[in-house]
């Protein structure tokens, strides 16, 4: 199971807990996790990636294993601890005022 940590705005939107778990078939990539997340919580479509282009929204970041992997190509496999479920894939809003 893949663990995904959601930021507060998206937790309230999806009416779920801080961490959700997803079944994701191999290869476990950023795209595959986000596809599974959006399939489970359709309301999240458009909030993390653009509706049409599927590009990451500018102020959304992806962290895993204490690394910022936001700029990794979406089809890159996620780190092994994320695939093993020992570490979460973290989605956060970039640090900004407001």
């Amino acid at each position: 199971m893949i663990r995904v940590v959601l930021p507060a705005h998206l937790r309230t939107l999806a009416r779920t807990e801080r961490e959700v778990t997803l079944d994701v078939a191999a290869p476990v990539t950023q795209s595959a996790v986000l596809d599974a997340l959006e399939a489970t919580y359709p309301v999240l479509r458009g909030t993390i990636r653009d509706h049409a282009t599927l590009k990451r929204r500018p102020l959304v970041r992806f962290y895993a294993c204490m690394e910022d992997i936001s700029h990794e190509p979406p089809e890159t496999p996620l780190p092994d601890p994320v695939i093993a479920g020992t570490e979460p894939f973290i989605i956060i809003g970039a640090m900004a005022g407001g």
């Binding site: 930021p7 507060a8 705005h9 998206l10 309230t12 939107l13 309301v43 458009g46 909030t47 993390i48 509706h51 049409a52 929204r57 102020l59 959304v60 809003g93 970039a94 900004a96 407001g98």
Partner: protein, 373 residues
């Protein structure tokens, strides 16, 4: 006469619903809805007051539209994909260079006067969208953006937003809209074709040609349903009116202490009674002299009186944004407005007296009111 009113308040950090009976003396305020999100606008369907649409926005996470079918008790997300029709092209950027059209957020939702499933959405970058399935899908009425002047539109300080949508109750094919900073436009064929209606507007400091066809920074327009050819406008500077559906505008600022401001509203039962909130200037977005005053004209403009009873008359430096004023239709007309300081003021006597029905909300972006059956 209704049994009460419901005030829909959009703020920078969530939405709130205030309710009262028809006396409008004591109020209950809900807990925050959609806490943490920018709630640009909430508006109920005139055809079904329990149907409410809300624009939920975030700089991080984009746009959502929420719908309630039970008067705001519960909400469900509906469609939030606002895709411009075709290749969107460019408009003018702040520095005069071409800039691609990019969707940012929904500023204003205007439900149909007759069909709860039909809603118009005014968005940034400026365009008009429409749903006919209760918000599940949205289509652009691209004749507006494509009518020819679009490449010359430029954003105002708050973004290039389509913020005003006024539906003509006597003609379902006639719609007025306004854009900052492009001006006012009208369609007479249900949104297929549009024409700029800015003759008479003057932007002496903002445009190289003060009388240009487009480019004016219109802040808000309002209409009384009994006189659909008469519109009132708060422009960046100047308060204006038209008596011929926008073909010609004349200034009615008269004795206002400042003719800069954002919202404008018309009394529910007196088509020539108009309300504005003067703001000192385009750089100083607060009331003149630290006094929060609504100004009322009972003559359709030119002659204005300050309404101050119950409003702070010293050390007040809040702003009142363009969608933050509304009127109810009870026999004694109620007027409501919200401030960037988080206050919501209400009058149950056409503006003669005011009370704060909320004092410490997040910065208020929009206020709408419904009279409940």
């Amino acid at each position: 006469m209704g049994s009460g009113v419901r005030v829909l308040i959009g703020t920078r950090k969530g939405a709130f619903i205030a309710t009262s009976d028809e006396k409008r003396e004591s109020w209950e305020i809900s807990d925050p809805l959609f806490a943490g999100w920018e709630m640009y606008h909430l508006k109920g369907s005139p055809a079904d007051p329990d149907r409410i649409y809300a624009s939920q926005s975030s700089g991080w996470f984009g746009q959502k539209i929420q719908r309630s079918d039970d008067g705001g008790k519960t909400w469900e997300p509906v469609g939030s994909e606002f895709a411009y029709d075709g290749v969107p092209g460019t408009h003018q950027w702040y520095d005069g260079t071409p800039h691609p059209w990019e969707f940012a957020r929904v500023w204003h939702l205007e439900p149909s006067l007759t069909d709860p499933d039909t809603v118009y959405a005014g968005v940034e970058d400026a365009a008009l969208f429409k749903t006919t399935d209760g918000g599940q899908t949205w289509s652009e009425l691209s004749g507006l953006r494509g009518h020819g002047s679009g490449k010359h539109w430029a954003p105002g300080a708050g973004g290039m937003c389509l913020h005003s949508i006024v539906l003509d109750p006597s003609d379902p094919d006639r719609i007025y809209i306004a854009i900052s900073a492009a001006g006012a436009f009208r369609t007479d064929d249900g949104g297929v074709t549009w024409k700029p209606i800015n003759k008479g507007l003057k932007s002496n400091w903002e445009l190289p040609d003060p009388d240009a066809d487009v480019g004016h920074c219109v802040h808000n327009i309002a209409m009384h349903p009994s006189k659909p050819g008469v519109l009132f406008m708060q422009k960046h500077w100047d308060v204006m009116r038209t008596d011929d559906a926008g073909e010609n505008w004349t200034e009615i600022s008269g004795n206002l202490p400042s003719d800069f401001g954002f919202p404008i509203a018309v009394h529910a039962h007196e088509p020539e009674t108009v309300y504005v909130v003067p703001i000192k200037s385009d750089s100083e977005h607060f009331p003149p002299d630290g006094k929060l005053r609504v100004y009322r004209s009972r003559a359709g403009g030119h002659e204005w009186e300050a309404l101050t009873n119950g409003l702070p008359q010293e050390n007040c430096y809040v702003n009142v944004l363009r969608d933050s004023m509304a009127v109810d239709t009870l026999d004694s007309c109620g007027i409501y407005f919200g401030t960037t300081g988080g206050q919501v003021y209400a009058s149950n006597d056409s503006g003669d007296s005011w009370q704060a029905i909320a004092r410490d909300l997040p910065s208020v972006v929009s206020v709408e009111v419904q009279v409940l059956p």
